[in-house]
Symmetry: D2
Subunit: 355 residues, 4 copies
Amino acid sequence: MIRWNNDYNHTAHPAILQALAECGQEGFDGYGQDRWCREAADRIRQLLGPDGRDADVQFLSGGTQSNLTVITAALRPVESVICAASGHIHAHETGSIEATGHKVLALPSDDGKIDPALLERELERFYADPAQEHLTIPKLVYLSFPSEFGTLYSLAELEEIHGLCRKYGLYLFLDGARLGYGLTAPTNDVTLADIARLTDVFYLGGTKCGAMIGEAVVLLNRQLQRDFRFYMKQRGAVLAKGWLMGLQFAVLLRGGAPGTKEEPLYFSETRRAAEYAMTLRDAFRTKGIPFFVESPTNQQFVVLSDDQLQSLEDAGHLVEYMDRTDETHRCVRFCTSWSTRPEDLEKLLADIAQL
Amino acid sequence: MIRWNNDYNHTAHPAILQALAECGQEGFDGYGQDRWCREAADRIRQLLGPDGRDADVQFLSGGTQSNLTVITAALRPVESVICAASGHIHAHETGSIEATGHKVLALPSDDGKIDPALLERELERFYADPAQEHLTIPKLVYLSFPSEFGTLYSLAELEEIHGLCRKYGLYLFLDGARLGYGLTAPTNDVTLADIARLTDVFYLGGTKCGAMIGEAVVLLNRQLQRDFRFYMKQRGAVLAKGWLMGLQFAVLLRGGAPGTKEEPLYFSETRRAAEYAMTLRDAFRTKGIPFFVESPTNQQFVVLSDDQLQSLEDAGHLVEYMDRTDETHRCVRFCTSWSTRPEDLEKLLADIAQL
Amino acid sequence: MIRWNNDYNHTAHPAILQALAECGQEGFDGYGQDRWCREAADRIRQLLGPDGRDADVQFLSGGTQSNLTVITAALRPVESVICAASGHIHAHETGSIEATGHKVLALPSDDGKIDPALLERELERFYADPAQEHLTIPKLVYLSFPSEFGTLYSLAELEEIHGLCRKYGLYLFLDGARLGYGLTAPTNDVTLADIARLTDVFYLGGTKCGAMIGEAVVLLNRQLQRDFRFYMKQRGAVLAKGWLMGLQFAVLLRGGAPGTKEEPLYFSETRRAAEYAMTLRDAFRTKGIPFFVESPTNQQFVVLSDDQLQSLEDAGHLVEYMDRTDETHRCVRFCTSWSTRPEDLEKLLADIAQL
Amino acid sequence: MIRWNNDYNHTAHPAILQALAECGQEGFDGYGQDRWCREAADRIRQLLGPDGRDADVQFLSGGTQSNLTVITAALRPVESVICAASGHIHAHETGSIEATGHKVLALPSDDGKIDPALLERELERFYADPAQEHLTIPKLVYLSFPSEFGTLYSLAELEEIHGLCRKYGLYLFLDGARLGYGLTAPTNDVTLADIARLTDVFYLGGTKCGAMIGEAVVLLNRQLQRDFRFYMKQRGAVLAKGWLMGLQFAVLLRGGAPGTKEEPLYFSETRRAAEYAMTLRDAFRTKGIPFFVESPTNQQFVVLSDDQLQSLEDAGHLVEYMDRTDETHRCVRFCTSWSTRPEDLEKLLADIAQL
């Protein structure tokens, strides 16, 4: 069986397992106050450039935990979050944001991205309402980069959303669970330095980009840095053995500048996965298989007939089922990842060609 | 100035003020444990018929408070509420339900009502989802009768929604802030006995139907009765001088059966307002003024040109502004109520005729 | 039966009922945006003196509601409240503060008051803790004036607590549910102007001081004023017919300066009750009946033998039971209030003399 | 430097790191639906005996997360938790339980344990209170085994607390973050089968007993099993790569019955640490160094003079500071653990002998 169903089905990049084994006999201070966490945080600040120089970096164990901890720390009880209707916090986290007391305002979206025009209208509507106090105050924009459908914001779009956030006093929070796949996508024009300049808080996802566990939450806005570790502890997000996460990010981020030959594993491994995904996309396109959404990153959403799906499954490919699109077709997700092997891709391409 | 802007702009029906004055020198037990509350609760149970015989009746001071107290008492943290997108809890209560930790799933709706077909699809979708645990569990349907747009569910529609709730294990909660106006609307075919049979909890609104303050929450489902007064106290909804609310409901509900000559003020006064509203509706219709939504109850939503609106305001009519519909028109609400005087209606009809 | 059990067993002062009757035919704007609320708020600001000039005054319907709304508006999720163990929010409000997400740190107390030395130790302990982030951040001191046992802080004590709050960055919140009885107590040396100077937020209780319903929350600290009405709406604390509360406070507060012949009913009526309570206290003392706590205000807590209690109950006096102190004695509360009649006091004094 | 400061300062038992390395090239299903989690859960059920046959076992990443997820799943909003004042949820988790909306009722305790007599009094007091609805409903007893001070409940004590929970309808929740050290303590008379029989939910701690990360939450009461994974997801406690935790518990729990030669690492390694701790205890005792609390498990709390402390630190021993006991003495914690080496113990014993 070859697993295309998601990008978190293998333990961790071998370099991580090796580093882990090497320090098995060493003692560390707890709760993320150790040399690995310091190294990883320093390295992240270095990658962010001037706007990230004073960033606070904290390591949390997963996406839902990171999302709810950041949002509960950022908002007062009458404030709310705006996101796309497909936003992970709205669609797939069991009401975790509401469980911290906040309303999520979901904007309609076909491609997983926030339409800046819709966002502006929502904000204008609130500020024009004479009975404003019967509404929640929009205070944070949540977006995913790449989105849940694998799509990317252009730099221009990010700047427009950033501008609206500044104009109306909102925080901008970028969920980067798959950030590596986004930054290394061939069509991407956004850099880590741009993200440091345009957002108030974001995270570099580890779990889906080569680590066993861990998201590196980067708090740029000083207001959000304040007491953040209290929020982490309160939400059960302080790992006793914090060095486990620091070590993983340190290993993944060691090396030269992204885009160079010496770029860190975090970039080289996701870059390879993005290239595989583009090859895969071409194969589906050649075959005339339609896409549910056009994605430039490691997640590809295609609409297969039940026969096509059966045929690929019979050939040993494991995929993730999305919604049915009609009685004989279904949307299906294929993910490449740092753990995808070249020979797996070759086999899938061959099997698609046979459809 | 004649106030058509809402149905809560006068203190209370004179019979209430008189009863209040009469017991000014009398002492009472606190927290709703008094003879007035007992009388009002008994009277309500009597009006509900056999399905309401064991109902628990509690008096709370307002709609938002009643909604949030009932919902926090009904739901476990991973459970959510379904309502129409215009539902008061979703649109106009400052995220009060999310503040108790629960997601509100809002169904699209043009007329303020839940479409049973949409409701069924939503429930089917949840129960068919293999990754169900990433979603909240729909557990309560909230609907308003009349809706926020003045519309009414037919008995058939209520029974269909009730059936879906039973099938999927949801509570049905009816917000009756304007229940009097709904029950006495000329086209209504729903009785209090039907509501007692079909819902798990509902309230008879007092504030908008002749009282100074107070909503009578009727808990039919035993599961919801359990510890309900703890929830009231925790949410600040136990009034020290509870008899103030009991007295008002007792005064409004004394008399014979609804629809008879001796019907209680709660019905006769809202019936009169509903008749006024129908006369008003005819006047707009005659004039060719379009309705935003067709309403059979005391709230009428019409689309006026800015000139027409100005003209009516100049004549001394106070209305409530809703959204603009285009650059020169606006949706406007006219409410009749127990406090509307015949001469006020006459003047408004004459002024509309002049438009 | 003569009711000494509490100070909220009669509807309202006759002047309020009369004013209510007089405006029965008048229309008002809703949600507290009316001339009565403006008059009452202006009057309160005038009574507060220079430190209250920019105060925001809002009318809420009860004590628990006021407490939870103020505290949820004041605190971020990792912040907590400090109060005496007998503090109403800790001991008698069904966990309402925890239900908004905040820990209550209860300081041991014999007399219902916070001991400033204990408060200081608690704050020092927190700021000295190297693992601070495993604790909540103390951010608000809640105290009652008079306390739940009828005791009063001296001006010196209030200033000391105020000083600690300033030193450690805490808000000071004074629950004045019985403020009238405190301000007019013979031994009291605290004025409304002192309270305006020393606290960040407090309320003048109406329910227990002559009104039907209502607490006037006075927000002095600008930080707390911000968006406060959003919090009120979210917690169900915006009354549709807000003028009902404005009117009551306006009627109770009209007149000259407190302590003068023309002082408002809010002061003259509670002053009378405080005098009655002192007479009552003397009667118990004369009889050798011990006090549970020595109180200078309208609540008197005495320890009666079961025989004594039976004898007073047989004579028609209704009291409130507190805890048993031993197998044959019980602590019992006697309250005087604005509604206590001279002849009732005479009868009670006579009956005590007979014990 | 030799780390005695805590029992979570080394990565993981070598057997775990080896197993991890061995399956580095294998793919798994996500979210804990994998063969490792199944193996670990089956093994735990086997160890529990007949009362644990139908237990649901879930793997969470840490103690605070486990505590808050279990408690939010167990309680309705008006219900509260009872624990000892030193209980971790009360004293060291940043108000995490209150953040889920629940009051924590802390019973005074000198040794970290709940006194059954105090517990009974608290429950009796609640059920005797005529104004019960102004209080929260006690619904869950939380205790730690071993306690935060290393002490243990005897089987008789656990049975007494269990009996009170049954009598008054409370859940019994046992925090077993250090369960291994408790079960293998020389004086312990409680077995896993007893725990399965007497509690409604408990956990076997991994983080402090040899694992990198993970607590195995065992839900015995069917009521608590219901929808538990929804609560996990909502609180950010579902790890994408769940097999990481399953693997660790499987490795730690493989083998024969506890107490036999073939007992699993979970028992043999903590047993060794407990023996070391007893040796250490004897060394302090011999030296006349007083204990803050007498502990039969791997945590030893002693009161050292500042000179003694300095001397041990100079010799390279790292300990954890607790409160000062007077101006020249401080309580200090020494922990042994699965990662303590015999030579480290020897050195510490020698250095103590020199004090």
